[in-house]
Symmetry: C2
Subunit: 225 residues, 2 copies
């Protein structure tokens, strides 16, 4: 008396994408912190999908640099050491600088006005109140809108990949002494340039913003990592 074998029907790809998204989220938020062990059989049971599906997900996650697969031992969430963080930041600077440039070129200057407004008094209030979660929500909106405005899916995917790897670190940088206020001024400079349709200035400002974050990280590295 053996159980039926075979496919669970359509939507295999959807299931795989759901699992992938869930694991990406957990890894990037450090809910699955670096060093965590991931087992095919456990995840297969947890998500009610086949082991084959999990292996698919692992393939993607490893290609995105989020996990390392260890033959016969499972997979482990990658840990970025300090030098790797700076390597990722170098790439982040180039890609997000390009993103700001493309968004400025491809979108009408007026389309950024709502964000310019949002980054005025409302976000000042967030920082005054110490409500960094609200601040971060606004940063994420800016980031999303810039990516959308760039109209370049290849770039978007790469930036998302970088984001998956650095999200937890970025949060740690934002809470460092004085960082939120400095970061805000930098974001405003980016938005000003975009609002004026100045692609060179937007790119330069965004690159400066990323470098500034990296410098903050370097200054406080013993507190962050």
């Amino acid at each position: 008396m053996t159980t039926k074998r075979g496919s669970k029907g359509a939507n295999g790809t959807k299931r795989m994408l759901d699992v992938l998204g869930a694991l990406r989220e957990r890894i990037s938020r450090h809910e699955l912190p670096p060093g965590s062990k991931l087992l095919e059989a456990e995840l297969s049971a947890e998500f009610s999908v086949s082991r084959a599906c999990i292996r698919d997900v692992f393939g993607v996650l490893s290609q995105r640099g989020l996990i390392r697969r260890i033959p016969q031992r499972g997979a482990v969430v990658e840990r970025l050491d300090l030098s790797q963080v700076f390597e990722v930041y170098e790439v982040r600077e180039a890609l997000e600088g390009l993103c700001a440039r493309l968004a400025t070129i491809k979108m009408a200057p007026e389309s950024w006005q709502d964000l310019v407004d949002l980054f005025g008094k409302p976000i000042e209030d967030d920082i005054e109140r110490g409500d960094l979660e609200a601040y971060i929500v606004k940063l994420e909106l800016l980031r999303r809108r810039t990516i959308e405005g760039a109209h370049n899916p290849v770039l978007a995917d790469m930036i998302d990949n970088i984001q998956d790897r650095t999200r937890a670190i970025i949060r740690r940088i934002i809470v460092l002494p004085g960082r939120a206020r400095i970061g805000l001024e930098e974001h405003r400079a980016v938005l000003r340039a975009m609002r004026q349709g100045d692609a060179d200035a937007a790119e330069a400002a965004k690159r400066a913003n990323i470098r500034s974050g990296a410098a903050y990280l370097k200054r406080y590295e013993s507190f962050v990592l």
Copy 2:
């Protein structure tokens, strides 16, 4: 009387990487041209590996944008339409510009002298003779050396990914009327800046070189795609 089942032992990962490398090569050289169908069972037989191994490879290839998996129908080699080519070129400009900058910063200026020499008379001879294969070998050497000099594995992987997608197009651009000579001058400008340790100039020259290639593509698009 059933055949034995089970693992073929160690080296599963190595087998997978070998197959992955082989398919990346075929796809990037258009030996498997865009639109080609890839079937798990066929490749499994061809490479003498399990279907699961091929599925692993497919996962990586699809994440790298080289193939698209179609549920129940196999996978197909992605075709870049013109707008996608330009999207990739935008990203390529940013990444290779960064690469030139980092290589200039991180390597001693003298370390580029052999390449400066190589891009003197020897490569002139290549172009005079119409020996574009030899020219391309030298370009590949420059590219490799720049990536190595940048000492950033994240960046290297991304640039390789872009290269996989654009390699065949790049070859088509190089043979366009007058392109090789113009390209050579641009590469020389990059090398000059690197030799002088001028990272800003190196980045700008490399970006200009990529943009120039894209402009050539736009001018001759009906001949290339």
